[in-house]
């Protein structure tokens, strides 16, 4: 009779224990960032792997979302006879919401999963233990550069996404639907506040980047050391990080209006 209750309890304890370990891990990664030697080379490499190699994806997705947004918002706005506000609507929705969130989800799929898989397979093939035996801390050598890389690239890629989104909507609004180019841009410029919108958008994207860096590296670091474990960890990174990004988005928007 007590079986299910006991199992539920055990599950809850395991979850809480997992969260505790994850928090300790975050502390270790944070401390590793402050500890010499500074691994600039490895951080640059991680930025390249997760950032530069995602540029094409982000540009293409940003432009596509911009195109769709241009069409949809034009359709909506024209019902109120407010087509001229297309610049405002596109700009604000991309900057405040869609840019950071969609970039977060895309980077999770493209670079977060790759970070998990890489760290996980290093664990499975005893490369992390090999580092330990050479008295090199794998958190400092492997994990920290990748986590930092993800955190750094997220706001940059989000800005790129937004730029291409605005460009896509411009193409639809001005070149296809025949709005006035000047009014599209000046409406956009007037509506967007640097502190309120742009900075906060970057803050949001940075939060997503830190979340993703944390989750992706933790999943890899804690995965079971075999092929199945690595693939499970990779899937779990995509699911967990995506959900966390969406939740964090709500929390940030609701509490701080970011």
């Amino acid at each position: 009779m007590l079986g299910p209750v006991r199992r539920l309890g055990a599950l809850a304890v395991a979850r809480i224990e997992g969260l505790g370990r994850m928090t300790v891990f975050l502390g270790q990664v944070g401390r590793a960032m402050l500890r010499p030697p500074v691994r600039i080379g490895y951080v640059v490499r991680a930025v390249y792997d997760s950032g530069v190699l995602s540029i094409a994806l982000i540009c293409a997705s940003g432009a596509t979302v911009g195109l769709v947004l241009g069409l949809q918002l034009h359709n909506t706005l024209s019902r109120f006879g407010a087509e001229e506000s297309l610049g405002t609507a596109v700009g604000l929705s991309l900057i405040r919401e869609l840019g950071p969130v969609l970039t977060g989800l895309l980077v999770t799929g493209r670079a977060g999963s790759a970070a998990t898989a890489e760290i996980g397979s290093m664990k499975a093939s005893e490369q992390l233990d090999g580092l330990r035996m050479m008295a090199i801390d794998p958190i400092h050598f492997v994990v920290m550069p990748r986590a930092l890389g993800l955190a750094i690239v997220m706001p940059l890629l989000s800005a790129l996404f937004i730029f291409f989104g605005i460009f896509g909507a411009y193409l639809i609004g001005v070149e296809v639907l025949g709005l006035d180019a000047g009014s599209y841009l000046s409406r956009l410029e007037n509506a967007v506040d640097f502190r309120e919108d742009v900075l906060q958008s970057l803050v949001k994207a940075s939060v997503f980047g830190i979340l993703l860096g944390w989750i992706a590296t933790w999943r890899g670091y804690a995965c079971e050391p075999h092929a199945v474990g690595v693939s499970r960890a990779t899937t779990s990174t995509v699911v967990t990080a995506s959900v966390c990004i969406l939740l964090a988005d709500y929390v940030l928007t609701a509490l701080w209006g970011v």
Partner: protein, 283 residues
């Protein structure tokens, strides 16, 4: 770290029949260790000691826990109970940074090499030097090439581990394990997957390291002939426990499990080997 290269006199009159491992100073010691993975009990009350400056070979069937013993010594696998002493220091429960200090005395060759995939062979071997010494690039290159030469891999600098064969991989990993001149070298199956010339190359190299630098060697191996030839102390793993002694003692043992493991071939080989080199001197 280079201070570890203490020269000790060559044990010229060394005779494996006389050596009593128990009488010597233990460099590494496992005391009353229990270890289980879930319900699978691997060790129960395991006690064994590895004398300083000697070659100890751990033998035993697959899955009996040879690699696990090395992992426990390296602090990668904490025992459930018991003590693991390295140079007299109990390493169980040490934090990562304290353990890192202990590991600076240790070198380890992993069963599958464990080289970093993303770095070339040269960078892999150079890594410990770059991390822990202030040597200049030339000096590092010199040392790395020296070690790679010693394991018979003269021109693989720019290859990635994925581009090496299995045997080359283990030799490259071996070069990395010895590049810092550790006091204690843990080798997990150094001979498996090697062709006969390379087996003897590694054997000679191990013995040289042991003789010239006084390295304490702890080797696991299935390679009967080489093990019997090299070992100053032989540890035979049995289910959950261990029997240890000089090879000749074990070979003379009447206990059925030991005789069975060493086998007639092994006993015969050992008898011949001891006969042909009455001083127990080695190549």
């Amino acid at each position: 770290m280079s201070g570890t290269a203490k020269l000790r006199p060559l044990p010229g009159e060394f005779n494996p029949l006389v050596i009593r491992a128990e009488a010597e100073v233990a460099h590494v010691e496992l005391c009353d260790v229990d270890l289980a993975f879930g319900r699978r009990v691997v060790f129960e009350g395991l006690t064994c000691r590895f004398p300083r400056g000697r070659i100890s070979v751990i033998m035993g069937g697959s899955g009996l826990g040879k690699s696990t013993i090395l992992r426990m010594i390296g602090g990668l696998q904490p025992p459930d109970r018991g003590r693991v002493l390295v140079s007299g220091q109990d390493t169980v429960g040490l934090g990562e940074s304290a353990m890192a200090q202990v590991r600076r005395k240790l070198g380890m060759l992993f069963q599958n090499g464990a080289l970093l995939d993303s770095m070339t062979v040269f960078e892999n071997v150079a890594l410990p030097l770059r991390e822990h010494t202030r040597l200049c690039a030339d000096e590092i290159a010199h040392q790395v090439h020296d070690r790679l030469q010693a394991v018979g891999l003269p021109d693989v600098d720019d290859l990635l581990p994925g581009e090496l064969s299995g045997g080359m991989l283990r030799r490259a990993a071996f070069a990395r394990a010895i590049v810092m001149a550790p006091e204690i070298l843990l080798c997990d199956e150094p001979f498996s997957g090697l062709d006969p010339p390379n087996v003897s190359r590694i054997e000679v190299l191990l013995q040289h390291l042991n003789r010239a630098l006084g390295l304490t060697l702890i080797v696991t191996s299935h390679h009967m002939a080489t093990s019997l030839r090299m070992a100053e102390q032989l540890l035979l793993l049995q289910d959950r426990s261990v029997v240890s002694g000089a090879p000749a003692e074990l070979a003379a043992s009447r206990e059925s499990a030991i005789a069975e493991f060493i086998g007639e071939d092994g006993a015969e080989f050992l008898a011949r080997h001891l006969e042909s080199s009455p001083q127990g001197s080695k190549p």
